[in-house]
Symmetry: C2
Subunit: 426 residues, 2 copies
């Protein structure tokens, strides 16, 4: 049975000059978070402590990057008493400075993320000018010295009748329903139906913390600070030091001098592009060998250092299909937390002389083809499904199959076949 395809967020109607000229903004799946991240408060341990201890705080547990959920569409949150055996009652009590001084590379500690506050929930929590229900995520993966305690937390959570989502990619979670107003500070969407974006934030950050236990600059173990948004390389270590002894100096590290991007989460910008023919009647799609028969999608690839998005579009399209692209317009973007991609959706137009397909450069695609716009339009209505799923009901064998609405590829094709190209001045 096909998993449910979540509804997509719809941004509020407005009549700004930008909307009149460019149309309504497209909010892609995994975007549209209902939380205000109040990122500037992540270093404020007074704020973090009181948010963590507030009775309305919600804790999302993740085990090996799978979230606790009520069902495939809804996340499940637990209260503080459930996570406390693992996190302690006030994990933000100590300042970053104190944590650095007490750093002991032999002691495991679960990563606790502060995700943001849901300002729509009149929770009674307030700190300075900010009000709303606090959201945290906790990595409860059993490992090292916290294995047994983490297992206990997992059992206590499961006793509530909820479970961790199976599988590794979770694209069944609800996106916000109804209209999202523009201002993230005035969201009307309650957090329980903005699940996809909350999960994306938590997954990306826990994964980054898990992948980077060591410092790329000096090779020594690092410490998670700023409620999960930074990893820092402590100058001393208490590992192996007898109780009450002075911490040992560690080797030098370049990240301790000035700001280093190594301390902050990485996001890999990736372009994905719907290429239209010079005359606007066809769209270029490609397929990888491992995909189901008749399945095609838009071309995509990572940006490289020292290149603009527009250049990456032209390079990747030429490398993968031999087609040369002229004007590139950036359409919308999508966070894609597997593990840390930012999908930048573009629409490009092939040049008149550049439409010949050649798969002989980079052999990444099994096939690349020009499809008439009508065929793509029809397939968007009758041939979309998740990659691992059966074709939808009514699909006729041999017809074009395409990715579902949760993929920005689908949204790009929808935009182009829906009239995005129509020149308004001609």
């Amino acid at each position: 049975m096909a998993a449910p395809i979540p509804d997509l967020p719809i941004l509020a109607e407005d009549d700004s000059m930008l909307t009149r000229k460019f149309g309504r903004e497209v909010a892609n799946y995994f975007s549209g978070s209902p939380l205000n991240r109040v990122s500037f408060l992540r270093g404020d341990h007074g704020f973090l402590s009181s948010a963590f201890s507030h009775p309305t705080a919600s804790f999302l547990l993740m085990e090996n990057l799978s979230p606790l959920a009520q069902d495939p569409t809804k996340l499940a949150y637990v209260e503080k008493s459930i996570v406390e055996p693992l996190t302690g009652s006030d994990p933000f009590k100590k300042t970053e400075e104190e944590l650095l001084k007490e750093f002991n590379s032999d002691v495991a500690f679960p990563v606790i993320l502060f995700l943001g506050i849901d300002e729509k929930k009149k929770s009674g929590f307030e700190y300075k000018d900010y009000r709303g229900a606090p959201y945290f995520a906790v990595d409860v993966t059993p490992k090292g010295s916290i294995t047994e305690v983490a297992k206990g937390v997992i059992e206590a959570a499961k006793a509530k009748g909820v479970s961790f989502l199976p599988g590794t990619r979770h694209i069944t979670l609800n996106a916000p329903e109804g209209e999202i107003p523009w201002f993230f500070v005035q969201k009307t969407t309650p957090a329980d139906i903005g699940a996809a974006a909350i999960y994306a934030q938590a997954r990306a950050l826990l994964d980054w913390n898990a992948r980077n236990p060591f410092c790329g600059g000096c090779g020594q173990k690092t410490l998670s600070v700023n409620a999960g948004m930074k990893r820092t390389c402590p100058p001393t270590d208490l590992a192996g030091v007898p109780e009450g002894g002075a911490p040992k100096e560690r080797g030098p590290c370049p990240t301790r001098h000035g700001v280093s991007n190594l301390c902050f989460p990485r996001t890999d910008p990736t372009m994905i592009v719907a290429v239209v023919s010079a005359d606007g009647t066809k769209m270029l799609l490609g397929r990888q060998k491992r995909w189901p028969p008749y399945w095609y999608s838009t071309l995509a690839g990572f940006l490289e250092p020292g290149e603009s998005i527009e250049e990456a579009v032209r390079r990747e399209v030429w490398e993968e299909s031999g087609v040369t692209v002229g004007r590139v317009v950036i359409h919308s973007s999508q966070p894609w937390p597997y593990p840390a991609n930012l999908m930048i959706g573009a629409i490009g137009q092939a040049t008149t002389e550049g439409e010949t397909i050649n798969l002989g450069n980079d052999p990444e695609l099994e096939s690349a083809k020009w499809f008439p716009m009508e065929e793509v339009r029809d397939a968007l209505l009758t041939g979309t499904s998740g990659l691992g799923e059966a074709a939808p009901e009514g699909y006729k064998e041999g017809g074009l199959r395409l990715p579902p609405q949760t993929a920005i590829a689908n949204r790009l094709m929808d935009a182009v076949t829906g009239g995005f190209l129509a020149a308004s001045k001609i």
Copy 2:
């Protein structure tokens, strides 16, 4: 004296539907590379070896990330004989597999980047279907066991009457002059006047290699492969092993199982936005305390994991200025190699109720203000200069000062004040 402000690349005129609807594409400074990266050939040591040894190969030397240059606008390239004492005569002779087997963490080796081929130069170099003059960059920073040899290479290069550019930021290098045709495979710009983009690519990649000598996944030393585009964590090490002995097994590393983003260069996506007022008559600009008096620019900030570009724009603008932004349109992008940013230029429109400025959230800006469009337009004509430079001639004390054309901020302001907002359907 003010450093020269380079001309900006101008993309070829075309009359595609996208151009008719959205206007001509803006190519920002540091983009517009004249080289074809042929990225799919970076793992092909036969290709790399023959490109490296071809008499028309050009080598850009960089010392502590400063490029060798003829003058502040033009890079200088040396021939193979100059770098050979450092690189050896055929550094790509061995395959990646062989290099991994022979890995010795005690032996320093300079990073050699393959940058691409200049297909406009009829150089006689060809490999399969690809023809053009090969470009490489070599890190000649004296360090560790290669200190003396590197110093010798530097002296030999300087003896040619060229020198490394002083300072740490180099924004005086030429961008392509005249029109760049769309297809990067048919560039008409010779590489010697596409200097900024070539430098940006080389700087970003050498910096990434230099910042990441250790593996973030396991803390062990890594090896630069794929002509500088990958760092891999070898399973064995010959350090301390007597001549002819078997290499020592190293500890396990998660990056050795499947593909890991830790092995590839990181690029940090950053949004930068020209926010216009709800009625389109004003622009929101901010200033940092350390900037010269009267200097303002557009707001900018790093994207966070699990957030779209559009969301990051709204979050950052609200955090830094209190203004709430509605529709966001992405305008153009710019690689910014200090150290690894991708500047994503956006234009956003404030909501009618959201124009009140509040600096009390994130105290990053000293001031944020709404400027009438005419004032911004005038300042683009009379008040731009590099950040460390004196105001331009004719500037009147107290007038608005803005960043130069090399900054995407300038291009965004230029687009907006030049009519980008004009709704074509009303």
